[in-house]
Amino acid sequence: MTRSQADIETAIGWLVRLQGEAATESDWHAFDAWLTASLVHAEAYDAAQAFDQRLDLDARLAEHAPAAAPATDNVVPLRQSHRAWAWSAGAAIAAALVAGAVLVPASGVMGGQETTYSTGVGERKTIALDDGTRIELNAASSLTVRFERKTRHVALGDAQAFFDVAKDPKRPFLIEAGDTQVRVVGTAFDVRHRDGQVAVAVQRGEVEVRPADANPFRLRPGQGLSHAEGQADARLATVAIEEVSGWRQGRLIYRDQPLSQVVGDLNRLFPRPVKLADAKAADMRLSGVLIVDEQDAMVGRLSHLLPVRTTTTKDAIVIRAR
């Protein structure tokens, strides 16, 4: 832990000041200067903010009986049977390129039989398994499902997927992502396995993650783990799950991610390749939201967020440092 108690306390002071309705221009200048002075400050602030949000969530959840949905006008409870509908509507919002479909395996996946699902560039799928589990598969991803009597197995290839696992304490759900094992009973979470990196973020319930035979980590809602394959260690952090799984709503949300990762994501959405011309551009870091619409428009927005120049030809878009 690099951040000190003093940083956390300063961060809390800022958070409360900004939540008061009277934040002024000079508050903004001072806050911006404090954040910019050290990465540790920004981390401490984000931790304080996540903690505060968690308190709000606790206060709210504690008031609610589990089954009772809050009384809001045009709210439809999102139960199993509504999911297919909800997903196709969500997919329609995203992009004309992105097709939404619900796949129900014809012959079931019981008795050790393996079924492989995959999506092409720009494609997304929702998979409904026999046990009630639903998997949303992001673009250019593949996974294999195998159900046995005592366990449910999924092997992730190069993939990102959001799992909403049906509860079955007698039959745990196991996911293999490279050298990392994820074990759950019934929860909702996002797993990303790309370019030798594994990242897990939890929305609901508890998830056990075991990277490379290390001791397992228990993740709770709002927590995330990232791990580089082949390394012995892993990083735990507080994550905003709606950001990590923003792809489900056609939004790519980045916090200080390298441009090379952003370009990788774009290349899973559109057939025309985006290329990085130099290492300087590849190493640039992006924080921001990219709405998934058209490739030219998305790359155009990148060149406003970062000091890069783009050149478009018939068969590629090249990004170079400005």
Binding site: I12, L55, A59
Partner: protein, 165 residues
């Protein structure tokens, strides 16, 4: 101006996430700000561009707050955490029983910790955080200044962050 936006957007998003009580809403707001900044084109800005960005974002936020005529910050916070808007319909993912149990346990620790704190601190925190009053309303109710409320709420959070994971 666009370059400055690129530099400041993450910090602006933090400010407005605190004010709107929602990371997702703040990201939307800062995305709208992008469109406004883009509309300025290559316009050179005299003086303090960073302050101008803050003012523009602030105005966007006030516009939103006015047009939404919302049902209180707490309801909105709840909705933004739990609800996905699809077209004109909202779907809601009801919390699971285990989430509710976990939150109740955390709330118990929260209440026990508050009891160990000086009474004005616990009261300010309860009014603001649990009953959803604004800083100004809490200050009026307790008959103290807004800056005292800030100090009380900060003190409570500092005590709580030490007790809760």
């Amino acid at each position: 101006m666009m370059r400055l936006y690129g530099e400041k957007r993450a910090n602006l998003a933090r400010v407005f996430a605190a004010r709107l009580r929602s990371v997702a809403e703040a990201e939307d707001l800062i995305q709208d700000l992008f469109l406004k900044v883009q509309a300025l084109g290559d316009l050179e800005v005299e003086g303090d561009g960073s302050a101008l960005l803050f003012r523009m974002a602030n105005n966007l936020m006030l516009d939103r707050l006015r047009s939404q005529a919302r049902a209180g910050a707490r309801d909105e916070g709840w909705r933004s955490l739990q609800v996905t808007t699809l077209g004109d319909q909202q779907t809601i993912d009801a919390p699971s029983a285990e989430d509710v149990v976990t939150s109740r346990q955390r709330l118990k620790v929260m209440m026990a910790t508050l009891e160990t704190l000086p009474a004005p601190i616990a009261r300010a925190f309860t009014l603001h955080k649990l009953q959803g009053l604004s800083h100004a309303e809490t200050a009026a109710q307790m008959g103290v200044s807004r800056s005292s409320i800030e100090k009380h709420v900060s003190a409570a959070l500092k005590a709580l962050i030490a007790k809760l994971p």
